[in-house]
Symmetry: D2
Subunit: 349 residues, 4 copies
Amino acid sequence: MDKVRIGVIGAGRIGKIHVDNLRRLQQAEVVAISDLYADAELEEWAQEREIPIVTADSNAIIHHPDIDAVFICSSTDSHVPLIKSAARSGKHIFCEKPISMDILQTEEALEEVRRAGVKLQVGFNRRFDHNFRRVREHVESGAIGDVHLIKITSRDPSPPPESYIAVSGGIFMDMMIHDFDMARYLSGSEVEEVFAYGGVLVDPVFAKYEDVDTAVVTLRFTNGALGVIDCSRQAAYGYDQRAEAFGTLGAASADNDHANTVALSTSKGVQGDKPLHFFLERYNEAYVLETQQFVDCVLSGNSVPVNGEDGWQAERIARAAKLSLRERRIVKLSELDVTGSIQAGNEGR
Amino acid sequence: MDKVRIGVIGAGRIGKIHVDNLRRLQQAEVVAISDLYADAELEEWAQEREIPIVTADSNAIIHHPDIDAVFICSSTDSHVPLIKSAARSGKHIFCEKPISMDILQTEEALEEVRRAGVKLQVGFNRRFDHNFRRVREHVESGAIGDVHLIKITSRDPSPPPESYIAVSGGIFMDMMIHDFDMARYLSGSEVEEVFAYGGVLVDPVFAKYEDVDTAVVTLRFTNGALGVIDCSRQAAYGYDQRAEAFGTLGAASADNDHANTVALSTSKGVQGDKPLHFFLERYNEAYVLETQQFVDCVLSGNSVPVNGEDGWQAERIARAAKLSLRERRIVKLSELDVTGSIQAGNEGR
Amino acid sequence: MDKVRIGVIGAGRIGKIHVDNLRRLQQAEVVAISDLYADAELEEWAQEREIPIVTADSNAIIHHPDIDAVFICSSTDSHVPLIKSAARSGKHIFCEKPISMDILQTEEALEEVRRAGVKLQVGFNRRFDHNFRRVREHVESGAIGDVHLIKITSRDPSPPPESYIAVSGGIFMDMMIHDFDMARYLSGSEVEEVFAYGGVLVDPVFAKYEDVDTAVVTLRFTNGALGVIDCSRQAAYGYDQRAEAFGTLGAASADNDHANTVALSTSKGVQGDKPLHFFLERYNEAYVLETQQFVDCVLSGNSVPVNGEDGWQAERIARAAKLSLRERRIVKLSELDVTGSIQAGNEGR
Amino acid sequence: MDKVRIGVIGAGRIGKIHVDNLRRLQQAEVVAISDLYADAELEEWAQEREIPIVTADSNAIIHHPDIDAVFICSSTDSHVPLIKSAARSGKHIFCEKPISMDILQTEEALEEVRRAGVKLQVGFNRRFDHNFRRVREHVESGAIGDVHLIKITSRDPSPPPESYIAVSGGIFMDMMIHDFDMARYLSGSEVEEVFAYGGVLVDPVFAKYEDVDTAVVTLRFTNGALGVIDCSRQAAYGYDQRAEAFGTLGAASADNDHANTVALSTSKGVQGDKPLHFFLERYNEAYVLETQQFVDCVLSGNSVPVNGEDGWQAERIARAAKLSLRERRIVKLSELDVTGSIQAGNEGR
């Protein structure tokens, strides 16, 4: 194989971004796109991009003999059945996060992936961000010594619409799942226990769905280090995405990205522009890199950089956080394993 | 009165700093200093500063008719008896933090102060820091809207000797008490409940005294806002003292102070010098301001900027944090009030 | 016309970059590329990009009936004849800087462009940089009041090879011509006189070609403001591209861009990564924007953002600077106009 | 001698600052102050500081047998006669800048100092600034390699009153003399030639005195490096004092000091407070250090850190700059030496 032929399932915002990023890669070719609501507009959009197949039926992609890999960008509840079908059909899989909102289902999907021996990469795009990657490098190189604390700040510019809040799975599963993965990525360690704390400070609508809009989650990693993540559904100044790793020899801190470096000094003070406002702007480069690495891994047979277990672990933390918030107590991740089928394995190599 | 005549009790490091700062004020005069270990060296030191009275007996200061106010800078266990005597003797009082390690004793001392009608200021010097004061101003002016989250980072350059650890009262009472006060100061709200989390990551010696050296404390304020403080007994790069207030309209963040603004750009990167390393260097100006405001309040009769209740509240949070760490659960500050005598009053005006 | 069909002349580094940037635009189509050394490798490169015509003969592009516009990316000495032919052939023109090293020739080329009524845009890509554009916006909006001083720092990571130095036209024409254009762009004013000062500090080879490798050029604008540009052929820490505009109400300063925002704090200090090292990295976005705007102007008929007069003015400043350096005196730009044919006109609309 | 007894001549703003700084030194004692306008107010001021002698006659200080050193803080035209008298009377001398506005007179004063063998320190306080000292250290340690360029930005918050402009000696002698000294200090080299350029952009009143309010001065050092200084009498955002040294291995850049490190992020952007506004605020620490080092040198017999030759060299650069501006040409400092008596010697050790 010298080119990966790809079918994209789900033509929403993120699906379309993946298409445009994949088209810039020499070694990838988007040959099909499906969406439940495939219409003339989507056909035109696909035509401009020279994508021959446009369909409302994801099976047409999953069972197409000339397709090597699928990007699953449809709604979360469709992820597990699609992963299972795609795996059985021998397709490599890139799936948006979370894999599912039910860990047992996630485990079933990963089991199928393992059995089929296909690759599964989960869309934790932030691991590919230039800033967070640099913090990780400083941890990995030993520049900060043994890690004592991981701190993450994660604030969205503004909350989603109520219709989305209702089905989002809550702040932990929908938003902080990225931060839980980041905590594992930066520390290089698994999470042992979680304490979640939160409030409804942005908009009372969150209370309606037993959700919070502002949260602080404290973690203990298996290597003894601590972690703390603060999260908000609304930041007036834009998208706030920072992280810090602190250890025996020092600290590595990632600040926000800004639209420019210009400082305006006047009698009122020194003024700069806001951080990059939108996740697509901030993580633009990261989205490109994650698809590129997925394509490289499919071609080379190497392990994917973010696999099924990474998805599973983040979901477990999210679930533990949800339980912790409700019961106002520390929750050990091992509590979730009573039914526990999966062992941290090598699914989604 | 056009000048406040002051006696300083305790000639350790902090006592001497207060003397030197007070001597720069036109409206203050240090007329006496006492120390259990008053010796020839202290006499010489005092002589150079034209302080007429040097004594081993704090009573000589407390009952001296020409003394208007005392600075209590002796060991923590002596604070309560000294406050009581000084109050009964009609002296205004500046007392280092914490007032005591036993809230009931603290309450008794404050009761005495209230009865005597003297002023009591507690040495929470960080409130006078140029950076934190500016964050507070941004909160107070409404620039960030309603506060949702207060974040504080507090890391010492290196841990104290074991002899001190043994009697320090633990990380919450000894070190984070400053941060608990800062949380109240920045938010303008009281703390309702606390969850403390920690580990022994810097030096196993802390475990010996049932203490931790790295801690993350999460708070809920009575106004609904959240707070989170991370603390370490050791930071390889020096003294790390930052704070952030986040609200509906924005965020105000205080970074560290540095020795200079110079950036050295070479083939290796861009290098700056470390943050100011030592608390006396970083809070030099703050120590001057706190003594100046105390002196001003004694002369004018105005309320002191940090009073006995502030000391008491911080101690309660510290005690709740200690309990939370031990019992691995959220502790409400109201749990401490079963024996409760004091009501948030106006002691130490 | 709903799409601009483009032929690119010169398939060196910058020519290839323009091709890749143009391919990302919906409204542009690269239909031909020519290079004196067109070979199998270039053919393959073009084929991958679906460019049907690959030729060694630029005339095949200039006279092709289906081509609307040409990008002139060949060596500087070919610019003038190519502009003339292309203009006569009715093609819109994007030409790399400088138009030529001989102002009379530049004037002749512009005359031809004017006569033909085609568009001519000059490749001053830095005007499209996010940082410099923001400084310009602060000047234009009146945020800094009347401009008193424009300061520009322009340092390359390392000097070009001797073969290039020999034909580069010298530091003013080859490198600082960008800065001369930037000075005009930021100030919104023309340059009246120039004083150039320099030295051979990086590499003695520059002396061999009567060139300098380090220069400071001082300017006076017609509106009375001053300007100063410092320039070096070598900066150990990478590409140094900063600018500041200072006026009655304040200053706007653009700092360098960096690869990431991470600060590593250790016992040695606080370390960040170097500025973006290479011009293609730093001005990546700017190159995209300049081609996009050219295409938009061709389609809409609007004026191009950097026209022939902008090219001509920068060349005049470069020439005056060269004279100033040699004669160690202030040179007025009006001195260059004795032979003067052109009047600041509207060539290259 | 274990204490330096000092008389201060001139009780204006700077004289009073020196008194307050000297009083904080253990090894200095201010025993006298003189001022042409010595009045009851000054007497009270001196009394509060326990300065026994207050006089209108500087001779009472210069010839007082118990005085070891004098601080000359009176108007510039009095400096030379006072230096001569003080030297003849065997007093060590600290003199504010400039020594005089007439190089021949300065040379005469230095000759007298040399003959008397007393110390003379000139008040170039900025050499003691934490930022500029750090840049110098980076140059001295070889961290930036061989120096290629020194850049200095020097902007006052607002222009002095017309009465002062009339007698100031002009922007070069009054204001930029500090920057000329800084250029020598940072580069560690002498200035060979100067080109000065300027304009009246802030206030037309400067033109009345053949002065400019905005200037750019370019220098060549004897070691081949270049220098450039930009200067303005008015900066809306406060006091702008920056410097950069650039060399073969990198660059060291000093930014401004700010009142605090707080960033306020809102929907409008990220806002910080202005740079420290006033020279006394910015150079507070530097003023303390320069007097301390003078006192140390008097006691130890070591060389003073800024001596008479430093004063003389800066005056020569200022004079050359003035000539350059008037004649619109490069001026070599050697042109000033026709009458030349002094050789760079060791006056004012």
